[in-house]
Symmetry: C2
Subunit: 350 residues, 2 copies
Amino acid sequence: MPPKRTAPTLNDVAQAAGVSTATVSRCLNSPDQVIGTTREKVMKAVRLLGYSPHFGARALAAKRTNTIGAIIPTMENAIFARGLQAFQEELRSRGYTLLVASSSYRTDIEEEQIRSLVSRGADGLLLIGHVRGPSIYHFLETQDVPALVAWTYDKTKALPSIGFDNRKSMRALAEKVVEMGHRRIAVISAAMAANDRARSRVQGVRDAMTAAGLDAENLPIIETTYGIDQGAQAFDRLMGAPVPPTAVICGNDVLAVGAIKQARVLGLDVPGDVSVTGFDDIELATIVEPALTTVHVPHRDMGARAARMLIDIVERKSTSKAVELNADIRFRESLSPPSAWTEDAAGPVS
Amino acid sequence: MPPKRTAPTLNDVAQAAGVSTATVSRCLNSPDQVIGTTREKVMKAVRLLGYSPHFGARALAAKRTNTIGAIIPTMENAIFARGLQAFQEELRSRGYTLLVASSSYRTDIEEEQIRSLVSRGADGLLLIGHVRGPSIYHFLETQDVPALVAWTYDKTKALPSIGFDNRKSMRALAEKVVEMGHRRIAVISAAMAANDRARSRVQGVRDAMTAAGLDAENLPIIETTYGIDQGAQAFDRLMGAPVPPTAVICGNDVLAVGAIKQARVLGLDVPGDVSVTGFDDIELATIVEPALTTVHVPHRDMGARAARMLIDIVERKSTSKAVELNADIRFRESLSPPSAWTEDAAGPVS
DNA sequence: TTGTAAGCGTTATCAA
DNA sequence: TTGATAACGCTTACAA
């Protein structure tokens, strides 16, 4: 059995180069403090031994890690994946490393991940939404780790945030739907319990209906998990009602695409028989046929700006508050006024 | 100015509970070694102070981190996102934490990230593909960090791998294309320089052509970066040739969807005027119209199995070699025999 | 410009 | 069952 080789340490390098550990450390961290000739000696030893600093030891001795942690609900959702990629690129360009964890939309797992990332020395945290237990805020405070909330804008909360106003944006879209003449509206939403974005969006629909004098109380809503198939199922149930809706407003594009797919199965024309709208404007939205009318969210821009904001907070350059980004409607084919036929069926005439 | 509060340490907890640091440590790591009454005292202090262990210190003193690192080309690509999500879920269920980094398809960045993850104490690494400089393998060896390659199967390489045979799978698909009667075939591929999966897939197309006695040498190939628009542009160039292809084989689904989109713009019918195929079988493949004929890759299964394999290696339970997964063809509408019209135009008859 | 040496917060070995 | 105490690998005054 070969002797269990153990990774080379600063000490090994120092010995190989015939200098002290302090000098090696300086070579690595502030090279200009050490003279050229010794620096070369040291660097050669570093290369020769394949030395790599022990992060833990460094974090222990210094007090910074240049690490940012991010916890997103899931990596499978394209909207987070995109924003996160931009977030990480921006971090990297500023000398920070990103640690990612995912919570599967569960607050208990999120809390566990927050603790894990903090104990790993994250200098700052990126979180999604404002729904979580109060104990974790206390924890973040005692640990003195700043956090930034993304994908939502809410200036009433304690944590700084960057994103858009989900409620306002969805309200704007719903108003268009109402303006076009739709009266029988239904909603397919992501599960709202641990998801304030979903909640706000539904609230936005209600706002628009109430403003138009419609009955927001009895708005049919189906909550479901994230996925095309889930959207399809929900749509199926909705259209099976005695008096089906003429417009189905979906909480995100993936659910909307599922709805459109199911419409095809049911032999329904979109938007002729029923209109469908989404939210997020992911690539899928322009691929599906008919293309989806949806709310465009600037994911990459949000990710990059979140990175800059968080670094500024970490480095105490600023104490940011909430930053609002615009999310505007993209009109495409999936939304149109209700057809005369369905309109008639809706009225008391027939 | 408030006194800069610093996070509580083991020592603080020990003092608050009136015990030694050793006891607190034991409470946290092997609770059954300490008697109930003291354990409660300690735990209360832990909660009270909001104590959280310092990961770096722990990694320094113990020698394990229960952390696995993964470096993927990009998080924006749905195929990696899916597999990675499964990978992380499996790791979590086995008590490991996942650290993710992305390389933007660049070997130099990948090397940097490998070093970073290793110095952070990753017990093992998940890598994509076999293309990287030799120095990094030496590094992994001296650091004694095991690595597993995923998304590709290659038993000739030193590192263990889990995935499918890209060349063989693409060859199978290309053979079907040839069998249907296509003679003028073109390829849209991801950049091949730092991507052995892309290379193998193109090789697979060549294999099929050669086997059928076609001229694989002059196979038109356009290399491009990942993205729907890039696929569309490449398709545009391909169809602008004096003698356009009757079948366009794409290296992945995203490029293929771009091709189909562009076909619509050009007024070409798929598959009537030109057939298009993909690779990966992501959700997009069934959404696009016509639905994409493609190679199905079991992403989630691969991710989960990769996790189990890697943990086994890390814990020295096994010394795994290459594991091959099946990737089978999904026939959908985007592929059909070439139409008589195009066939005529191709032949010497007209 | 370089070296010495005192921590940093844990874990683990030994004694008690 | 608990407590001292010596690592662990690195950074950073402070000295030389």
